[in-house]
């Protein structure tokens, strides 16, 4: 079996560290949240226990101290405080650093760790000075029924995940831990073990009922099973409750009894109702990427097969080719769906960013997130984090005013940043809106004039002025801070969004705030494209930007006298001749086609020889050698085996606007 438990643990630890960060921020908002404290304790406990099991001794050793502190908080001996929340967050960072170090990364900062541990111990020491149960810790809140620690009897039913034993989890050690909580009567059940020929030797078919008597509570019992709870069914019930809950509970097996048939069926080791997330499989992203690429190859080869079948008019092939088309189409949709992930998976890290930066800048900011469940292809999500971080930093640094300034303007001290994801047609729109001071159009204009980007008398709309900040090196920040304002940001964000075939729209109102809206496709793996031809080359233009096609006779071109403008229903639209821009040899046809595309609220024409057809395109990434070609975002193989390049419209426009490119084109024309 190709299974590396340590690798799986590292992935789980990453999830737990993200959970720790989220919980710490939640705790900061609500000191009385008992469940959050328990959640934090469990996360640290799991990291410590599994870390030790898989040889991450430094992680286990450090985490032990934080876990001890959290245990004191659980017991109500140490109160929840800002310092505690801060320690929890910094401990998460330290564990991340220790993991990186153990995987060959830079060594973790030992001095920082020592300081952090000193703070942990200082806080921990207050426990002995204080009176248990009198602090604002969560124990008082944890007084509901079964969680209360008192001498009681518990009936536990444990049906493990079928893979528990193959993961190296030993029930013997589990029961040894359980016996520490009190006197145990353990009864093993063998009724689910099949005959030899049906047995998978590594699977676990055994299950247990345990009667535990001692001064303990359900949380403590559950903690014993913490490492084996995934995919297992674990019922913990106080004996009194069993007696009171009547018939429903009576059907459950008492100690020594067998599971009723109906229940046994639903809880078989191979899954079932009690299996929880046993139906979830973690798969390395690289394997999914490979699967998507293979499906892409399959789609392209099916297209070639269909072309060949049509060319040779073989009726016997028509049926199977159609059936394969249906199957391939279903497979493609399912595989692409597997890679879809909720955008909330990257929202979590922004809470920490807002927390840290607002503290650093002395601002009070509330981050509101909406639409976390909105799904995007993982390949887009992976590349979306960086531009979103930049936009958030800008909002925090330049948008939201200091608390004093906000009060002076009659606003609440605390600013709000709203991070919202929504579906719009076949796109997803992610917006970052703040209620800060808004963009300063006068300052942007002055900067653009001083940099000779525009003339002093240029008539620009607000929208055009806002778009100036997307130009390379443009920054209106009065001083360069460590947060933002280095003047290398927004153009990079724009390019990153362009590379995702997305767009960025800026709206702003002075004194009321700004909104940056990113419109993104759901996936980068497949697009609807318009197949066009120039000379002998074929290109795909994404249909998402195509508005219409018009004809351009050669005579009209000559009449325009070198000005690349075409009149479409009274509107003068600039066009880019792909033959010229790609230096395609040979004569253009007497009537060319102009494909009109939308680019940043403007219509632009792309002149091609012929418009062939619409085409659902599986995008193949270009090799590293071609990665810097801006005008092309990928390629695809057509049914006849030819390669078509997928045009990046923003890149084509940038190339056409580039003065150096225009000069070289002029020289080429003169030479001709």
């Amino acid at each position: 079996m190709d299974f590396n438990p340590a690798e799986t643990f590292i992935q789980e630890a990453e999830d737990l560290l993200a959970e720790i960060e989220t919980c710490a921020l939640q705790l900061q908002e609500d000191f009385s949240s008992t469940e959050t404290i328990h959640q934090l304790f469990r996360a640290f406990h799991t990291i410590k226990g599994s870390g030790s099991m898989f040889g991450f001794d430094a992680v286990a050793s450090f985490t032990h101290h934080v876990e001890t502190l959290l245990d004191q908080v659980r017991e109500g001996q140490v109160p929840v405080s800002e310092e505690l929340c801060s320690i929890i967050m910094e401990s998460g960072d330290q564990i991340k650093a220790l993991f990186k170090a153990s995987q060959g990364g830079a060594p973790a900062d030992a001095a920082a760790q020592a300081k952090l541990l000193a703070r942990v111990h200082t806080l921990s020491a207050t426990a002995s000075a204080g009176t248990p149960g009198q602090s604002s810790g969560p124990k008082g809140a944890a007084s509901g029924g079964e969680t209360r620690a008192s001498s009681s009897t518990w009936n536990i039913r444990f049906c493990p995940d079928p893979l528990m034993l193959s993961r190296g989890c030993n029930p013997e050690l589990l029961f040894r831990d359980l016996k520490r909580l009190g006197e145990c009567v353990i009864e093993g059940h063998t009724d689910r073990v099949p005959a030899l020929d049906g047995l998978q030797p590594e699977h676990c078919y055994l299950w247990w009922t345990i009667r535990l008597q001692g001064e303990t509570d359900s949380n403590k019992i559950r903690e014993v099973f913490m490492f084996v709870e995934d995919g297992a069914q674990l019922d913990i019930e106080p004996e009194a409750a069993l007696a009171l809950t009547g018939a429903a509970v009576a059907e459950k097996p008492a100690a020594g009894g067998k599971a009723p048939e109906s229940e046994a069926r639903t809880q078989t080791p191979s899954g079932g109702a009690g299996a929880g997330n046993a139906g979830t499989v973690k798969v390395p992203a690289a394997r999914l990427d490979r699967l998507v690429n293979l499906v892409g190859e399959l789609v392209m080869n099916h297209s070639r097969l269909a072309t060949a079948a049509a060319r040779f008019s073989t009726p016997e092939l028509a049926g199977p080719v159609e059936e394969i088309e249906r199957l391939v189409s279903e497979l493609r949709d399912d595989v692409l769906q597997i890679r879809m992930m909720p955008i909330g998976s990257i929202f979590g890290r922004f809470r920490r960013l807002v927390h840290d930066l607002s503290q650093q800048l002395g601002k009070e900011i509330n981050l509101v997130t909406e639409g976390e469940e909105t799904e995007l292809d993982k390949s887009i999500l992976d590349r979306l984090g960086e531009p979103l971080v930049h936009l958030l930093r800008n909002s925090i640094d330049h948008g939201i005013e200091s608390p004093a300034d906000r009060e002076a303007k009659g606003k609440s001290r605390k600013g709000t940043i709203r991070l919202v994801a929504t579906h719009r047609g076949s796109d997803v729109v992610v917006s970052i809106a703040d209620d800060g001071k808004g963009l300063d159009t006068a300052a942007i204009r002055a900067k653009a004039v001083s940099r000779q980007i525009i003339t002093a008398d240029a008539a620009l709309s607000d929208k055009e002025i806002f778009n100036l900040i997307l130009l390379p090196g443009f920054s209106t920040a009065q001083s360069i801070t460590s947060v933002s304002g280095r003047g290398v940001g927004m153009d990079v964000v724009k390019r990153q969004i362009d590379a995702l075939r997305g767009s960025l729209t800026i709206t702003s109102e002075a004194g009321r705030g700004s909104c940056m809206a990113l419109t993104l496709p759901l996936t980068l793996a497949i697009i609807d494209g318009l197949l066009v031809e120039c000379g002998h080359d074929q290109y795909i233009i994404p249909m998402a930007v195509v508005t219409e096609n018009v004809e351009l006779p050669l005579t009209d071109r000559e009449r325009n006298n070198g000005r690349n403008l075409v009149a479409v229903r009274g509107e003068q639209i600039p066009y880019i001749d792909l033959r010229k821009i790609f230096a395609i040899q040979g004569a253009a046809p007497s009537i060319s086609k102009i494909v009109l595309v939308r680019h940043e609220d403007q219509r632009i024409g792309l002149v091609v020889d012929r418009v062939m057809d619409t085409h659902q395109t599986v995008i193949q990434a270009l090799g590293p050698f071609f990665r810097n070609i801006e005008v092309v975002s990928g390629s695809t193989v057509m049914g006849d085996g030819r390669v078509a390049l997928i045009l990046d419209v923003a890149g084509v426009v940038r190339l056409a606007d580039n003065p150096r490119h225009r000069r070289s084109q002029g020289q080429a024309a003169e030479a001709a």
């Binding site: 034993l165 029961f175 073990v193 099949p194 005959a195 030899l196 020929d197 030797p201 676990c204 055994l206």
Partner: protein, 105 residues
């Protein structure tokens, strides 16, 4: 696992996940011979839950085929684990119907 003749098998070494697949095949081989199957666990040095399951599965197969299947002389490694995991009741392994005691028959 050694065949001592007349359906008598001697299991030695590990009765655990490492040996589970091999033991499954070996036990299935036992059923290919006629007569009663007796397995001695006196030489088992190490045992885990997977190992116990193999023996239980052997019992199931025997029941299904109407064959006699006996486990005897479990070593301390086997009986200790069976006791901890709650499979040793009244001195018997796994099932009240199997009257194989720790000391043998």
């Amino acid at each position: 696992m050694k065949n001592k003749g007349s359906g008598y098998w001697d299991l030695t070494g590990g009765l655990d996940i490492e040996a589970a697949e091999v033991l499954k095949t070996a036990l299935l081989d036992c059923f290919s011979e006629p007569g009663e199957i007796v397995i001695s666990l006196a030489g088992v040095e190490h045992c885990d839950a997977n190992g116990l399951q193999i023996l239980i599965a052997g019992q199931r197969s025997a029941q299904a085929l109407g064959r006699a299947f006996r486990i005897q002389q479990p070593s301390e490694a086997v009986s200790g684990l069976a006791r901890t995991l709650g499979f040793l009741r009244d001195g018997s392994l796994f099932d009240q119907r199997q009257r194989m005691t720790e000391g043998g028959e």
